[in-house]
């Protein structure tokens, strides 16, 4: 049994976000982090590893610089990194990305008792598509929005969160689970983990490694293989500054109340 975790290195949008004049993101000037929901997926996998001793493999598609993220995950306890990287994969939308990651996992070898954990969504795109689409391409069931996961044998019981409650869903391996923030509290790296992480295996799959896989051909990957295109991208307008009310708390409150009253809002 082994667990794959899909992870993505993303710009840290919680800090300063730099936008170039043409309306695209200036990624070079921004710090990168491991996508937050993916950290919950990693923790979910490591928890099962703590109990069963199974192997955990972090899978990412991206530039070679994503190695730094994979090493950090290894310092948390992940056993192995699988980085899918190649010029041919560039420009992929979520559909093409799912196809490539699915091919990578299949090429590595997905066995009947394996699990794939993904984060619910990435903060750079918020698409939440890649997990379900990998599951579809691998013909395995998915359970998204996992708020609790328990495992007994090959059966997983998942508390699948809804806006107004939850469902309890049972699913058997192999399956894909997408994880949300509420699922767990990701652990930190540890000192000894950092000491050992540079000696753990990092596997690189480039285009040549995957090109014979049935899911990979020039019409299914990269820009050409992406069903969606960006038509325009732009920054939202800054709303004009409003009015600052001055005076004591009582005076400003009185003025506000009269504004609301005039506008027939109370």
């Amino acid at each position: 049994m082994k667990i794959f975790v899909t992870v993505k290195q993303v710009p840290d949008t919680s800090g300063k976000v730099a936008v170039k004049p043409d309306g695209t993101l200036d990624r070079a000037s921004m710090a990168t982090i491991t996508n937050p929901d993916d950290m919950n997926a990693v923790e979910a996998a490591l928890k099962i590893k703590d109990e069963t001793g199974c192997r955990v493999i972090a899978v990412s598609m991206g530039p070679m610089t994503a190695e730094s993220m994979l090493r950090e995950l290894m310092a948390m306890g992940v056993d192995e990194g699988l980085l899918i990287s190649g010029r041919e994969f560039g420009g992929s939308d979520t559909y093409a990305t799912s196809q490539i990651i699915a091919a990578g996992i299949d090429h590595y070898g997905l066995e009947p008792d394996d699990i794939i954990f993904s984060g619910r969504q990435a903060i750079d795109g918020d698409t939440a598509q890649v997990g379900p689409q990998i599951a579809e391409k691998l013909h395995i069931p998915q359970v998204s929005y996992a708020g609790e996961v328990t495992k007994a044998g090959n059966k997983l019981t998942v508390k699948r969160m809804l806006e107004d409650g939850y469902m309890t869903v049972e699913v058997e391996t192999p399956c894909l689970i997408t994880c949300i923030k509420e699922l767990n509290e990701p652990r930190y790296m540890s000192v000894s983990g950092i000491d050992g992480c540079f000696d753990k295996p990092l596997i690189i799959y480039d285009y040549n490694e995957l090109k014979d896989h049935p899911l990979i051909d020039p019409t299914t990957i990269g820009l050409k293989g992406s069903p969606t295109n960006i038509y325009k991208s732009f920054t939202p307008p800054q709303k004009g500054a409003g009015r600052m009310l001055t005076g004591s708390a009582k005076e400003t409150a009185k003025e506000l109340a009269s504004v609301l009253s005039e506008k027939h809002l109370i």
Partner: protein, 381 residues
């Protein structure tokens, strides 16, 4: 110094841990109650902080001095007292055992210290022997296989929580000064060991400090660490490493002062603009930044020397001297930039000002560092 990938990752771990775990609530509670917090101590141990410098065969992770300096700096940058939590086992507490302990002693004492279950503290200072550690009056008299300890150690950081204490005691009353001193590891539960009341300190609250009093304490012979009558040089070598840690702590405190000052100077508006627009303020910030950079490089350099097993006595003292004075100057400026708000407890710089003050006092005052540097300088001149 440009950090390699491993040290950069360690720095990131310490920074993330401190920023997330050292909540404002925890910091305030430590400062207000002065009480030790076992939860955060155990959590730090879980991630390997307590055993950072302790070799792997004794349950630690065997990291180098640079990693140690980075840890203390990053933890102190968020909360000075919590950097002490992770310091003792790697420095004054664990250090003497590593330097002089027998294999049995290391195997017995270090693993529970590395895992955070047990705490070992360092006792050198006495009411009448501070900077002049040679003036030790605590005695250990051999009685069969045992030793009988009598005396009082003062300002022992961590004494109330300690399971064991490293005690320096005179074993040869005829020897003068620093000679004839031996080192013992004392089980704090032994009959005759009592604690003084916790000191009410200006800062570094949350890691209680008190006296340890020994009255006819019978200590088994296997608690002697290192050779009889040769304890003082171990104490001095331990302090070398300790100074490095305290220098790193001072850099962390200084950086925290700068962080707070920059944030405030950009927020606070006077005369219609942020006060950072005024050179009277921005030049203070520039001075702080320049001094912190200098102090930090001294610390990293001293760590590097130690990691290469080179003589680091002068470098450690220089780093401690400069970093401690920098922390004090930065604390002064940070409070100054905050004006009246810096004098009230709502703002962090008020505590930083109190915490910084100890930097130039403990583990050798700035004046003692000058003595060490001068002696080393003149010896080799």
């Amino acid at each position: 110094m440009i950090l390699d990938a491993k040290h950069a990752m360690l720095q990131k771990l310490f920074r993330e841990f401190a920023q997330t775990e050292f909540t404002k609530e925890l910091q305030d509670r430590l400062d207000q109650t002065g009480e030790f917090d076992w939860d955060i101590h155990k959590k730090m141990a879980k991630y390997g902080f307590m055993g950072l410098r302790i070799p792997k065969e004794y349950g630690g992770s065997g990291m180098d001095y640079l990693a140690y300096a980075l840890m203390i700096e990053e933890l102190a940058r968020v909360d000075a007292v919590l950097s002490i939590y992770a310091n003792t086992s790697n420095s004054l507490g664990g250090g003497p055992l590593l330097l002089a302990g027998s294999e049995e002693q290391k195997k017995k004492y270090l693993p529970p210290v590395a895992s955070g279950e047990k705490i070992v503290v360092f006792c050198l200072t006495e009411p009448g022997a501070g900077s002049d550690a040679g003036g030790t009056t605590t005695t250990a008299v051999q009685d069969g296989d045992d030793f009988i300890l009598n005396g009082r150690k003062t300002f022992v950081s961590g004494a109330p929580m300690a399971d064991w204490a490293i005690i320096f005691a005179k074993t040869d009353p005829t020897a003068r000064g620093s000679r004839g001193i031996s080192m013992f590891i004392l089980d704090m539960k032994l009959p005759g060991v009592t604690l003084g009341a916790p000191e009410k300190k200006m800062g570094i609250n949350g890691y209680p400090t008190c006296d340890i009093v020994m009255e006819n304490v019978r200590v088994p012979g296997d608690c002697l660490v290192g050779q009889l009558n040769k304890g003082f040089s171990i104490a001095m070598r331990t302090l070398d490493g300790g100074r490095l840690g305290m220098a790193a702590q001072a850099v962390g405190i200084a950086q925290s002062c700068l962080d707070e000052a920059v944030k405030y100077a950009k927020e606070r508006k006077q005369f219609g603009r942020p006060i950072s627009d005024f050179q009277g303020v921005s030049f203070m910030l520039a001075d702080m930044e320049a001094e912190i950079q200098a102090a930090r490089q001294l610390v990293y350099h001293a760590a590097e020397l130690k990691d290469h097993n080179m003589d680091a006595t002068r470098a450690c003292s220089a780093a401690k001297l400069i970093a401690a004075e920098t922390a004090n100057r930065c604390a002064y400026k940070a409070v100054q930039i905050h004006g009246g708000y810096g004098y009230i407890k709502e703002y962090k710089v008020e505590r930083l000002y109190r915490d910084a003050r100890i930097c130039s006092i403990y583990e050798g005052t700035s004046q003692i560092q000058q003595v060490v540097i001068a002696a080393d300088l003149l010896k080799n001149a």
